[in-house]
Symmetry: C2
Subunit: 386 residues, 2 copies
């Protein structure tokens, strides 16, 4: 079988990473054949430093019509994910997009439709779905071990970013450039995992985003969000880029106990009988269900970006099912959009959100933006992020 | 010096506890001389089973005018705390009241005024203030080790209560009997500690209480509350009586690191330089402040109810300063009232709250209550609670 010929769209910080592992043949059945970047410097840097054989394009149309590629990885600023994905599908190419799927759900819905019409393989770079801890937690929930979910609490405040980080890219942390802050740049993984692990999306949310609270930026850098679910469960999601050392602790409580992921460990407190059954049968005063703390084996390795790219290539070559199907990208983005919209309206928002209203509000933010950034773009080493 | 002669008002579950340790002379400088309970059975049970020498009263006025007591411990249902406290102060008696201070702040404000006018010793049974973990955390914060507080997150869901618990007392979990659920009965300690440890009260709150969500009761048994503070800090407080095994985890993040209390341990992650200073000086990409995990010694023992009662007696005899001055009781209650009020209004509430509005809303709940409980009152063994 021929290698899948992969082109990368956007070779800034993250696109460079993808170019590196593709050019060192870490992905079986794939080769890097072309890169496209509007910045000639960026594109040429890849050819000079990473992969001498790669074809370099500064023109998008020439890239798509080159005949050199079967599939693309999109690693541009977020606003352009859907634009390039739609073009790629229209050119009969398979698409793996960086997260988030886009900036607003209206745009991502169009991207999903283009994918569906094309019949091509469509995946999202949700590399945290390869983390064995989350895979195992999802397994416990979907197999019924935890019982019906009642509460989720994710404290994910370890996305520390300094002012100098924000100052390093002209498009960073602006309404026009990114369309958001910690929710759109740092948290898409957790927002995806939140719904993927549980299989549940809220029916409504009430969120409290703070814009430029810790840093001199116009977008949100601190968020507390409250979610209600159809079955009566509730959830809280808290994130910030302004705290050190920060915390990453996910707790999910169900009818049969609770699970906590923290410090790279999964702990399961299992009730001997479900809480609902205990409550029905118990006739005493202060008693509670017998509880066993269980050591749950968590096997396997996090395969990260390479894992998702390998899975994407395998799906193209042998119809392997996708770890992160592209059309699921809209879910995490819906949570992110809902949190911002709830804050702007200072009220509850029902899900699915009013996509037109969100789009209007976002446009208003872009219009009233007073940020004038120098167009300094630095290629950051991303090995310390996801 | 003569022993302080203590009378107990209300000898249900909790009052019985106080009678027990007083009659076994666990409190230096105090003796149990009288009990008053509207239930003759309850009052006589103490004389027959706990303390043969105690004088028993079923009539409140006779109790106050007996000349047998210098101080009272009030352990009635919550609504009556302020009523009896005011009467006691008017009779020139010292007062130690069970938590909560009362059901609504308007009532507690009157209680505080009566205390102030009397000049007598006035304390609140906040026995968790003797827990060395919280004492130490307060020390770290008040001495500036944590820096300015930015976020608090208290997940206190280990207040499991079965339906049979709620069915065991006629006044339990009703608007007329208790004036609330988990906030007014189980959580007063944490609500007090929250403000006592930090020395901070929110400027506004947005809360989500659920009434009778897990149990057949009319009051709240599940709460998520969001708080904003004057310095920009935020906080989340989550509680429930319907989850097992539940969690008790308090995290406080500041400019110089974070502290977590969980599983009876205090952990302090200390930044080498404050986050704000790091942010100002750092010029790189993904860096964050150097952080040291510190083992903090937590010494001493939790002296509990006896510790507070001993401190109360010591304050009467030798002007020792109080661990839990009575007039501070209104603060935790203000948080509780604010959470209910925010839910009822489905909106933000500013603090201090509109006390008249809260009172009106509470009266409306009492009026529209459809609960008709059997007047079955069981004396529960409280050794498993606080």
């Amino acid at each position: 079988m021929n290698d899948v010929r992969v082109g990368i769209i956007g070779v800034g910080s993250m696109g460079t990473q993808h170019a590196k592992y593709l050019s060192t043949k870490e992905i079986t059945g794939a080769k890097l054949t072309a890169v496209f970047d509007q910045s000639e410097d960026h594109a040429n840097w890849i050819k000079e430093n990473i992969c001498h054989e790669v074809a370099v394009f500064y023109d998008c149309e020439a890239f798509f019509q080159s005949g050199l590629i079967d599939a693309v990885i999109i690693a541009t600023p977020h606003y352009d994910h859907s634009k390039y994905a739609i073009q790629a599908f229209n050119h009969g190419l398979h698409v793996l997009s960086e997260k988030p799927a886009g900036v607003y759900t209206k745009q991502v819905r169009e991207m999903n439709e283009a994918a569906s019409n094309s019949g091509k393989v469509y995946s999202m770079m949700y590399n945290q779905r390869t983390n064995p801890l989350y895979v195992k937690l999802r397994d416990l929930i979907h197999s019924g071990e935890l019982g019906e979910i009642r509460r989720m609490n994710w404290l994910i405040t370890n996305w520390y970013r300094s002012q100098s980080y924000y100052d390093s890219g002209g498009w960073r942390a602006t309404w026009a450039g990114e369309g958001g802050g910690v929710l759109i740049n740092q948290c898409p993984h957790q927002l995806d995992l939140w719904q993927w692990i549980t299989g549940m999306m809220p029916t409504r949310m009430r969120a409290f985003c703070y814009f430029g609270k810790h840093r001199n930026i116009e977008v949100e850098d601190d968020v507390t969000a409250f979610a209600e679910y159809e079955n009566g469960a509730t959830g809280v999601f808290i994130t910030s880029t302004g705290e050190a050392p920060g915390t990453n602790r996910l707790e999910i409580a169900g009818d049969q106990g609770k699970v906590v992921i923290e410090d790279g460990k999964l702990s399961f407190w299992r009730l001997r009988v479900p809480e609902s059954q205990f409550n029905e049968e118990y006739k005493g005063g202060f008693g509670s269900p017998e509880c066993w703390k269980c050591d749950i084996p968590v096997l396997g390795e996090e395969t990260g970006h390479q894992g998702i790219t390998q899975n994407f290539v395998d799906a193209i070559q042998s119809k392997t099912s996708l770890i992160a199907p592209g059309e699921e990208g809209i879910k995490g983005l819906m949570l992110s959009n809902a949190m911002q919209l709830s804050t702007w309206l200072d009220n509850w928002v029902d899900l699915p959100i009013d996509e037109d209203l969100y789009f209007q509000q976002l446009q208003a933010k872009i219009k009233s933006s007073t940020v004038e950034k120098k167009n300094k773009i630095t290629r950051l080493d991303v090995k310390e992020t996801h």
